[in-house]
């Protein structure tokens, strides 16, 4: 048995068998060239059937005249859906909103998450309770967290307004209508999104921070580098790959989300918070114009492709180094 180690490479080439003839006589399930694909294939096929097929179907629906009410797939009508979508002011506003909403929320999330993650690298009392509390927004179902915010902002009994009034930020006579004014509604939607994605970005950045060897920071402190110069010249550059990963996931989650907007504002007031995904839902499902909705949601795709390409490059670089 002592020689087993030396034999491993031979064992891998022809599993357990002495010669190729013997291998072919073995039951099919013992042959790795057969066993591997047979184990992977069902999962791949399932995902292809429910991600690949619908995606191709959405390409077709977008150039058809399919309606919810009619059955089947509709007639081919060329690019008419896209031209009418691109001329619609609602669509253009949604496109702008989607970018504003994604960029602002993710910038805030990254800055705040970096601050919070830096705090969490330190030791302090009650750390495990703090960890549980700050993770709540991410792990609780988002539609339920959002309905909580809906009451806290948009009601006669809004505790947010009560607190702001108690702090003398707003007067008692004119409590703001959070979802009645475009800017406030957008700020609310962005705020809820920051609230929900902050825990996720924090734990990812925290994982990155703890992977930086302590000696690096200690050495620079000994060399006389202050807190800010250490942050900007040492920590942040080392953290760049993980910040990119956190940012990319955040961009996908924010860019394609419709739950927060659907529950909070329904895209209102007057499409002030309408984004691509919610507009696709209102057009395609509630409005019954399946083809139009498919065309709108396809505008999400270029961004996804971009993120996927960047992600693959990071993964490859991690593999090489």
């Amino acid at each position: 048995m002592g020689k087993v180690e030396g034999k491993t490479s031979a064992l891998e080439a022809v599993p357990l068998g002495g010669t190729a003839v013997r291998a072919s006589r073995r039951p099919l399930l013992d042959r790795e060239s057969f066993l591997g694909p047979i184990m992977i294939l069902p999962a791949v096929l399932y995902v292809l059937a429910l991600v690949g097929v619908p995606f191709v179907l959405s390409l077709y629906l977008a150039v058809s005249d399919a309606k919810i009410a009619s059955t089947g797939l509709g007639r081919f009508i060329g690019l008419a859906n896209f031209t009418s979508v691109l001329q619609s002011p609602t669509f253009l506003r949604s496109l702008v909103n989607t970018f504003v909403f994604t960029v602002v929320s993710q910038a805030l999330v990254l800055v705040l998450a970096k601050i919070l993650a830096t705090c969490l690298t330190k030791q302090f009392y009650g750390k495990s309770i703090v960890r549980f509390l700050i993770l709540l927004p991410w792990v609780a179902p988002i539609s339920l967290g959002t309905i909580g915010w809906k009451w806290m902002l948009d009601s006669l009994y809004s505790p947010v307004n009560w607190v702001l009034q108690a702090l003398h930020v707003i007067p008692q006579s004119s409590w703001p209508m959070w979802f009645g004014v475009r800017e406030l509604a957008m700020a609310s939607v962005i705020g809820v999104h920051v609230w929900r994605l902050l825990p996720f970005a924090t734990v990812i950045i925290l994982a990155g921070l703890t992977s930086i060897p302590r000696e690096v920071e200690e050495a620079s402190a000994v060399d006389g580098a202050g807190f800010w110069s250490r942050e900007f010249y040492i920590v942040l550059p080392l953290l760049r790959p993980i910040l990119t990963v956190a940012g990319l996931f955040g961009i996908i989650f924010a860019f394609t989300d419709m739950t927060v907007i659907y529950v909070l504002t329904r895209g209102g007031p007057a499409d002030g918070t309408q984004v691509l995904s919610s507009l696709a839902f209102f057009t395609g499902i509630l409005g019954g114009d399946l083809a139009g909705g498919a065309a709108i949601s396809l505008f999400l795709f270029p961004m996804l492709l971009l993120v996927a390409v960047v992600m693959l490059r990071i993964a490859r670089r991690a593999e090489v180094s």
């Binding site: 064992l11 599993p15 357990l16 039951p27 399930l29 013992d30 066993l35 184990m39 992977i40 069902p42 999962a43 791949v44 399932y46 995902v47 429910l50 097929v53 619908p54 995606f55 179907l57 629906l61 919810i68 797939l73 919070l116 302090f124 960890r131 509390l133 993770l135 709540l136 927004p137 792990v139 609780a140 179902p141 988002i142 539609s143 339920l144 967290g145 909580g148 009451w151 505790p159 990812i204 994982a207 790959p241 993980i242 990963v245 996908i252 394609t256 691509l276 696709a280 839902f281 395609g284 499902i285 399946l290 949601s297 999400l300 795709f301 996804l304 993964a315 991690a318 593999e319 180094s321």
Partner: protein, 282 residues
């Protein structure tokens, strides 16, 4: 020396203040749900009251309304049925795939695994329109089965990736020793690898289950009758009638659903993070 200790103290105070402020802001909605669950209507709807504390005796009336006069228990049951079935399908397909990608696929394992994980990132808002047509063609609209069929399309990619990482962390020598002793690969997997992988399998179960509880877009799109809804759609859409919000019960429904999910999630968080850092950390 004194200047240093003053500075240290200031740092500690700053740390505690920052951490408390973040915790308070992030957890506040759940504190609010807790208050609203046990507050009397008289307490809730009085503008003179401080909304952040109890001003009246506590009550179970909101919970009673939630459990006895709404479909909440039906939604819980629906969610559980969908979750359990989706977990079963996911394990059946993701366990073999995760193992094979880690051990049998050779140099193709890693890129294929990343490819599968990327499909997890394809959002429901890109696919819900074509899927609604597919669901209609299959005759599954307004049925829980539509969710059972569609949800594995995101739980499988996620769990394959998770399990692949887990199986890679188990030393190869364990199966090899068994196989040298004359055991077949298939038998080594079932009798040796699976029992020592229970922790990894359990984390896959928890994540697949919580992902289905959290899902909103597909459930909203495919299911219209309130009796067939899941918790994440039923609570926010059905406990609101026009402008009348059953706030106390609504918040109770949110709280009771969120807390168990949060506790489960916390137990397995480290594995979840390892999955998401995509090799950017060594």
């Amino acid at each position: 020396m004194r200047r240093r200790s003053v500075r240290y103290l200031a740092g500690r105070v700053g740390l505690y203040l920052t951490v408390s402020a973040f915790s308070a802001l992030l957890a506040f909605p759940f504190y609010w749900m807790f208050l609203a669950t046990f507050k009397t209507d008289r307490d809730l709807y009085d503008l003179k009251n401080n909304p952040l504390v109890f001003n009246d005796h506590l009550t179970l009336a909101n919970l009673k309304l939630l459990f006895e006069r709404t479909l909440y228990t039906t939604w819980l049951w629906n969610t559980f049925v969908v979750g359990a079935t989706v977990v079963a399908i996911t394990l059946l397909l993701a366990l073999p795939a995760g193992y094979a990608l880690a051990r049998l696929a050779g140099r193709w394992g890693e890129p294929l695994g990343i490819g599968i994980f990327l499909t997890y990132l394809v959002p429901s808002t890109l696919l819900f329109i074509p899927l609604s047509r597919i669901v209609a063609l299959l005759g599954l609209q307004d049925s829980l089965w539509s969710l059972v069929v569609v949800y594995p399309s995101f739980t499988i990619p996620f769990c394959v990736w998770l399990l692949m990482g887990f199986f890679k962390s188990i030393p190869k020598e364990i199966e090899e020793a068994a196989m040298v002793d004359g055991c077949s690969r298939a038998r080594a997997i079932v009798q040796i690898i699976m029992p020592i992988s229970l922790a990894g399998i359990l984390s896959a179960v928890i994540f697949a289950f919580t992902l289905t509880i959290q899902e909103f877009v597909y459930a909203l799109t495919f299911i219209t009758s309130s009796g067939a809804q899941t918790v994440s759609v039923g609570v926010p859409t059905n406990l609101v009638r026009g402008d009348v919000f059953f706030w106390g019960s609504l918040m109770a429904g949110c709280l009771i659903t969120s807390i168990p999910v949060a506790i489960l999630y916390n137990l397995f968080l480290d594995r979840f993070i390892a999955g998401f850092t995509v090799g950017a950390i060594k």
